[in-house]
Point group: C2
Chain length 323, copies 2
C-alpha cells in the first residue's frame, strides 16, 4: 500500500490528543497538547503541526499519510470549519482543516464532530465492522450520536445532523437542558442526567440508600453505579428509569432508520447489563412490531483511551486529495 497510515486528532475542551494509525487500527505513536493554551488559533495550529511533523517524519514522511481526520466540537464535515464551539475559546468559523493542511504539505484534512468520529471509528475498527446501518450513542457528560446509513455517515444538508441527545423525550414539562429547551434525552440519560434522577429519587422518597451517605453535591454517576452493584434499591431504579427512557427513544430511532445495531459508548456504557437490560425491555415494549427483535444493542469495542484518536483517524481513510 502506497499510503499505509492516517493521522487522528481529537480536539477536546482540555486536551488535544493525536496519533498515527495503521489500517488495522494500531496506534504507532500518540501525543497530546493543551487545547486552550493559545488565544490565537494560529498559534495552536502551529504547535499541533509541529508535534505532528515529527510523528509524520518518523512514519516515513507525508507521502506515507493518506489523510488526517479530526474530531472537534461543532466540526463541520462540509466546510472543514469549527463553527462557534461552546467549549473552545476561538469564536466564529475557524477553517481548521485548511489551517492544518497548509502547514503539513497539504495532506488532506477531514473534520467532523466527536460523536460522528466515534461512529466511523467503530465502523472501521470496532463493534460495527461490516455494518452499513447503525447508530452510535455516546453517553458521557452529554449525549451525542453518530448515525450511519447505507455505509455513510449522516451529515444532513448543513453538516450538523445526528443530535439525538437533543430529541425531546418529555413534554411539556421536561428537564431544562443546556441547549435552552426542555425535556431533551440528554437531560435524563447523560452522566449528569442520571445524577439528577438520583437526586430526585433521594429527595422524594424516604427509604434508605447507600447514596444518602455521600455528599449530594458531589454525587457522580460512578457512585450510583457502585451502589447499584451492591443492590441498592434506589440506585438500581435510577438505572432502570434511565434505561427505560433510552429504550423508548431508541424505538423511535429505529422507526427512522431501522439500524442493525445501536452501539453504546462512553462512561454510562460501562454499566453493562444495569443499563442494557432496561434498554432492551423498553425497546421491545415500544418498538413497532415490524422491527421487533431486529436491532442489537452493543457496546463499543474501542478502548476508551484510544477511541478518540482511532475514531478521528478512521475519517481519513476516506479522504480524497485536495486541490
Amino acid at each position: 500500500m502506497e499510503k499505509p497510515y492516517v493521522v487522528g486528532i481529537d480536539i477536546g475542551g482540555t486536551n488535544t490528543v493525536f496519533g498515527v494509525v495503521d489500517a488495522r487500527g494500531s496506534i504507532l505513536q500518540s501525543g497530546s497538547i493543551k487545547t486552550q493554551k493559545h488565544d490565537d488559533v494560529n498559534d495552536y495550529v502551529d504547535e499541533l503541526a509541529q508535534s505532528l511533523r515529527s510523528f509524520i517524519d518518523q512514519a516515513g514522511g507525508s507521502a506515507k499519510i493518506k489523510g488526517i481526520g479530526v474530531g472537534a466540537p461543532k466540526g463541520n464535515y462540509f466546510s472543514g470549519c469549527i463553527e462557534d464551539a461552546a467549549n473552545l475559546k476561538w469564536k466564529g468559523c475557524i477553517p481548521f482543516a485548511q489551517l492544518l493542511s497548509e502547514r503539513l504539505d497539504h495532506i488532506p484534512v477531514t473534520l467532523t464532530n466527536d460523536a460522528n468520529a466515534a461512529a466511523i471509528g467503530e465502523m472501521t475498527y470496532g463493534a460495527a465492522r461490516g455494518m452499513k446501518d447503525f447508530i452510535m450513542i455516546t453517553l458521557g457528560t452529554g449525549v451525542g450520536s453518530g448515525i450511519v446509513i447505507g455505509g455513510n455517515l449522516v451529515y444532513g444538508h448543513d453538516g450538523f445532523a445526528g443530535e439525538l441527545g437533543h430529541v425531546i423525550v418529555r413534554r411539556p414539562d421536561g428537564r431544562i437542558c443546556g441547549c435552552g429547551r426542555r425535556g431533551c434525552l440528554e437531560t435524563y440519560t447523560s452522566a449528569t442526567g442520571i445524577v439528577r434522577t438520583a437526586h430526585e429519587y433521594l429527595e422524594t422518597r424516604q427509604e434508605g440508600s447507600l447514596l444518602r451517605n455521600l455528599d449530594p453535591e458531589k454525587l457522580t454517576s460512578k457512585d450510583i453505579y457502585d451502589a447499584a452493584v451492591k443492590d441498592d434499591r434506589i440506585a438500581l431504579e435510577v438505572f432502570e428509569a434511565t434505561g427505560r427512557i433510552l429504550g423508548e427513544a431508541f424505538a423511535d430511532f429505529i422507526a427512522f432508520s431501522s439500524p442493525e445495531a445501536i452501539v453504546l459508548f462512553g462512561g454510562l456504557a460501562q454499566a453493562g447489563d444495569l443499563i442494557t437490560n432496561p434498554i432492551r425491555e423498553a425497546m421491545q415494549k415500544n418498538v413497532l412490531s415490524a422491527f421487533a427483535g431486529k436491532t442489537k444493542i452493543l457496546f463499543s469495542e474501542l478502548k476508551e483511551a484510544d477511541a478518540a484518536i482511532l475514531g478521528a483517524s478512521a475519517l481519513a481513510w476516506e479522504s480524497k486529495e485536495m486541490n
Copy 2:
C-alpha cells in the same frame, strides 16, 4: 437515450394504477386494474403484465424501458417482495418483482413502499428536485414517510426504515394506534387522527361549531377544513393542535437527519396555511438552535392523480440490469 421510458405501478388496497413515463415526468399512457379481484397472486400478475405488455409495445417494446418501479404496501426494496401487507389478500412473502419481471422480458423491477416511492418521485420530478436531504411526509388515512439522505432513500438494514407515522409523540397515555401501541404520530395527524381530535373537542366543550350540524359518525377531515375556512373556532383549533404536534415531531426529525426540507403530501396537505402555520410555529419553538430556520416546509408539486405512478416510476430510473 437508448431506454427513454420507465413504468410506474402503484398497488393500492383497491386499485392498481400504472403508466409509462418519460424522463421529464410526463405520463404517456396510464391504466388501472382492481387489486383484489384475484385470490391467486399469479392471476393478478398475469392480468397486470398483460395490460403493461400492450403499453410497452406501443412505447416501442421492452428495449425502450429502463425499468419498472413499484410502490406497494410493505414492499421491500432489498428482497423485491411484498411482505404480509395488512390490506392485501395475498399473505406471506410475495416475490412480486420476480413474478412481474419474468412475465415482461426480464425488465428490471424495483419495489418499495408507497411513501418511499412518493419521496423518490418528488426528488425526480417535484418539489425536492436537486435536494439530497429531505423528508417526505404523507398525511392521508395514515401517516407515512420517505427519508432521503445524501441523495439516497433510507431503507435501513431490513428494507423497512422510515416509519415516522409511528414515532410515539404522547406517552404514556397516548391514543391507541392501529399498530397496537399508543401515542403514534399518525393517531393525531392522519385524516382520521384529525377527526378524532375534532370529536374530542366537540365532546369536551360547550361552544357552538359548524361541525355540530353534521352527523358525528360521518365527520371527515374535509368537513373540518371547510369549517376552518369559515373561521369556525373549534375547527381552527383542531388544525392548530394537529400542526403543533407535527411541528414538535419535525423538530426531532431535524435533530436526526437535518433535512433541507420536509415535503408534505396527501389530503391534509391540501389545507395549506391552516396546517403549515402551526407546524412552522411549533418547529421554531422546539428545534435545537443550531438548526433554527434552516429546514423548509414545502408541499408536494406532483398532481395527486399522477403522484402514485410518477413516484413508483422514479424508482426505475435507478434500476440496474438483473441476471
